[in-house]
């Protein structure tokens, strides 16, 4: 065996010497370049066309600017729009636009750009963003007015979305279906240089950039000349790349790696509040979960504190309802919040007729309490699901795990073949409740399969009949409380966004402004000289 190792090392060494040579010649060694790895949820973008894409990533937010920016505290800041005004009845919005802004193809940005762009959404999957905008009127070169079909208190949120990055109308019309695939033209601080789907996206600096938002320190062109975004499917590989210097910034570090990262002298971590929760939907149409007592018991069996402390090492927060804590509609009647109570769970199951059997599994009418627990084929999902499985066992429920790829999983939901599942979402707005609990979308995405009149009524009111922000909050809170009272899911955990970077290679601001790493931070990013 000794010989074996030696031979292997010899071959290794032979290759190695060539390896070192080529590495020194590689462009990554030059200054003013940064390599960034996308986070898990950002992987798989197929086009940088924000109008038609249903998945976008950080690179998109660097190519395009938005009219409005949102900060981590959910407040709004001017960007391409310098100011805005909503009419008293909510039926018109007027935006003043920034002067002197140019698209990367040399065409000017003005009110006409907006008037050309908004109608492009018609018939696309992203139409919901501009659904309430009836027409766009050009008042003067730098003033534009949205005439609304109904009040939309959520308009600023939509405008701050990365899907509402403003594209160059000239390029958009010229390229048609190919827009975003071969070329993408915005007003942002970086230009698209090359895009290999599934591999990498290379951006180069827009030297003319002089219209940064208040969220950046740097108001001129970016310091960094070139950014390579890499798609690394396996999060642990991405982590090793950061550790070994292959990438400089990691946009999403799984929480369980934080502990090891702390030991690395050259790695710094920035934590930001996350945009969603991890939870376990319960299919109400399939026994035993057609019984609300069993649903409640199941929700109470999940020990959020223990999961937070063991699986996530105390980073992040427990989830007790469906919305992230920073949303006002998350502030529900405390009695409706779900938290771990095994004793109560046991009582509820007894009451429902499920009595404890000898083997620790409850029985009713001779049948054991055995349920299906679905999860996704990814390390973090499998980990969390196995802990939940063990916790359900504690109340006498035998949950059998099946791991599916995401396409098959969706198919299972649509076939109503599921009972419990471990899932997560990323969306910092209350309208996520509509997406996951509307009776119009049973199976998927309404995995809980909940459909009743009261719920639908509350949903309609919250979605379309709120005139002001306050009303919208109150309406969503009422809908949220109703959903909680039906025990349609077990809330588990609110993750943080963890951005890790090599402090010997790049300098990032200590606090990241905005809801996530976007152009405002990329502008301030510097390469260590």
């Amino acid at each position: 065996m000794h010989y074996t190792t030696k031979t292997l090392l010899h071959f290794g060494a032979a290759f190695m010497s060539t390896g070192i040579l080529t590495m020194n010649l590689s462009p990554a060694a030059f200054a003013q370049e940064v390599t960034i790895a996308f986070s898990g949820p950002e992987l798989g973008v197929t086009s940088y066309n924000p109008v038609t894409s249903t998945l976008l990533n950080t690179a998109n937010s660097l190519i395009y600017d938005r009219l409005v920016e949102q900060d981590a505290d959910q407040s709004y800041y001017p960007h391409l729009a310098t100011s805005w005004e909503e009419s008293g009845d909510g039926m018109a919005w007027t935006f003043k636009l920034r002067a002197g802004v140019m698209f990367q193809d040399g065409t000017p940005f003005n009110a006409q750009s907006i008037a050309d762009w908004i109608p492009d959404f018609k018939g696309t999957e992203n139409n919901y963003l501009v659904d309430a905008i009836g027409s766009v009127e050009v008042i003067d070169d730098l003033t534009v007015k949205f005439v609304m079909t109904r009040p939309e208190p959520n308009l600023l949120y939509n405008l701050a979305s990365t899907y509402m990055g403003v594209p160059s109308a000239a390029a958009f019309d010229r390229l048609g279906e190919n827009y975003g695939v071969s070329e993408a033209v915005g007003t942002g601080p970086f230009k698209l240089d090359s895009f290999s789907v599934g591999l990498e996206t290379v951006l180069v600096r827009n030297d003319d950039y002089a219209w940064a938002s208040e969220l950046s320190e740097n108001q001129a062109a970016a310091y960094v000349e070139r950014i390579t975004f890499r798609e690394i499917p396996d999060q642990s590989t991405a982590f090793l790349e950061l550790k070994t210097g292959g990438v400089d910034v990691l946009l999403g570090v799984p929480t369980d790696f934080l502990e090891i990262l702390e030991e690395e002298a050259n790695v710094a971590v920035i934590q930001m509040p996350g945009l969603g929760i991890k939870y376990m939907p319960i299919n109400v149409t399939v026994p035993p979960f057609d019984d609300i007592l069993v649903r409640q018991a199941t929700a109470l069996a999940v020990d959020q504190e223990s999961i937070l402390n063991s699986v996530y090492k105390g980073v992040g927060a427990v989830a007790n309802n469906f919305l992230i804590s920073s949303l006002p509609a998350a502030d529900v009647d405390p009695a409706l919040n779900v938290s771990y109570d095994p004793a109560r769970a046991g009582e509820l199951l007894d009451q429902a007729g499920w009595t404890m059997g000898d083997d620790g599994i409850r029985m009713k009418d001779g049948a054991p309490l055995r349920v299906k627990l679905f999860t996704q084929n990814a390390t973090d999902f499998k980990r969390l699901t196995q802990v939940v499985q063990a916790q359900l066992k504690e109340i006498g429920m035998d949950a059998v795990i099946t791991v599916f790829d995401s396409s098959t999983l969706r198919d299972e939901y649509k076939r109503n073949a599921h009972q419990l599942a471990v899932r997560e979402y990323d969306w910092n707005n209350s309208d996520i409740l509509d997406w996951f609990f509307s009776g119009e979308r049973l199976g998927y995405p309404n995995v809980s399969m909940w459909n009743d009149e009261t719920g639908q009524m509350l949903n309609d009111v919250a979605m379309t009949q709120s005139a002001t922000s306050e009303q919208r909050i109150a309406n969503f809170k009422a809908y949220h409380e109703y959903i909680l009272s039906q025990y349609l899911f077990a809330p588990i955990y609110q993750p943080t966004i963890n951005i890790a970077y090599n402090s010997e290679a790049v300098i990032l601001p200590e606090q990241i402004r905005g809801i996530r790493f976007r152009s405002q931070t990329a502008l301030d990013m510097k390469v260590v000289e």
Binding site: M23, P233, T237, S407
Partner: protein, 328 residues
């Protein structure tokens, strides 16, 4: 009855060797047509047996049924399967692999983007296995040292028994994490090729070494070798000029026949090292149910395998003793 997998009948035996070989080759090339067509049918059926729908990856969670129908019509997914198949095949004959549904590009672009990575990786792994395997095989055939032979045998054994992905992980741990010599993943530099090539190539060493050894031991006792010895040629001259070229044919044959194994190893290596390539394209398309991409890349892989098998079989036929006898 002939020993060939496809065709071949008794009457061919009476012809001379090279004529037979030509005829065999021609026959095999002709066979490729029905085989490719049946493969395309099988691939098409497999793809449409997969649960799930590519449209789901194009639309938002809250999308309307009409939007879904519109997309299904756009990509022809609402047509009967048999029509879809003929449309696909019809386009294929014109060299059009179709348009990727989720990846929104021509499938041929995706294949051309990934193919060079697969060819480089596969080719280097092929070369690595051949060189190391033949060296070890020769040592174990020529050097009559029981201890050395045992070591070589151990090494060969190890190569065929270590799971590829596990070896890959250990290599990363040693060369990337601990020593920091080589990149963990990616395909930007040539250095990123080293570990994937080692991972795939290591598994092939065993096979090549075994074949080389057998081939060398077989020819060692043949008349012409005895003759060469008698002529006073040195042992190494005999080995390098006469014996090894003999061993090369069976080695290439066995590797050509096992091209599927190289491609399979590439899938694992591409996955672990996050490399682009046909394998990772296929895995990605499988996950997104991007039917045209799955079909296109599977067909490419199948074609590669068929060509490999064809070359291997022809080489094997060329070496068939009955053909050699017939040509005397």
């Amino acid at each position: 009855m002939s020993a060939f997998s496809f065709g071949g009948s008794a009457d061919t035996r009476v012809q001379n060797g090279s004529g037979m070989l030509l005829r065999y080759t021609f026959r095999r090339l002709l066979m490729l047509i029905p085989v490719s067509i049946s493969i395309s049918v099988v691939i098409f059926m497999i793809v449409h047996l997969l649960p799930g729908d590519p449209i789901d990856n194009l639309i938002r969670v809250g999308s309307s049924p009409e939007a879904r129908e519109r997309l299904a019509t756009k990509y022809g997914l609402d047509r009967p399967l048999i029509t879809q198949y003929f449309v696909w095949m019809g386009n294929m004959f014109r060299g059009d692999f179709g348009q990727a549904i989720v990846l929104r590009r021509p499938v041929s672009d995706l294949i051309m983007q990934n193919l060079p990575f697969s060819l480089t990786l596969g080719g280097l792994a092929f070369a690595f296995s051949s060189v190391v395997g033949m060296t070890l095989g020769t040592i174990s055939a020529v050097v009559r040292n029981p201890i050395l032979e045992r070591f070589v045998r151990g090494f060969i054994l190890l190569g065929s028994t270590v799971p590829g992905f596990w070896l890959a992980l250990l290599l990363i741990l040693l060369f990337s994490v601990t020593l920091g010599w080589l990149p963990v993943s990616g395909a930007k530099t040539w250095s990123a090729l080293v570990l994937p090539v080692l991972t795939i190539g290591f598994g092939g060493i065993a096979l090549v070494a075994r074949v080389t050894r057998v081939a060398l031991i077989d020819v060692r006792h043949e008349d012409f070798v005895t003759l060469l010895h008698a002529k006073g040629l040195s042992r190494s001259a005999i080995l390098f000029r006469h014996l090894l070229p003999h061993a090369l044919v069976p080695v290439v044959t066995i590797l050509a026949l096992r091209i599927g194994w190289i491609l399979g190893g590439a899938v694992t290596a591409e996955f672990v090292f996050g490399r682009p390539g046909l394998g990772s394209l296929l895995i990605r398309a499988l996950g997104q149910r991007d039917f045209p991409v799955i079909q296109g890349s599977m067909l490419m892989l199948a074609l590669a395998v068929m060509l490999g098998t064809l070359i291997g079989d022809i080489l094997q036929a060329a070496m068939d003793p009955r053909i050699r006898e017939a040509s005397k």
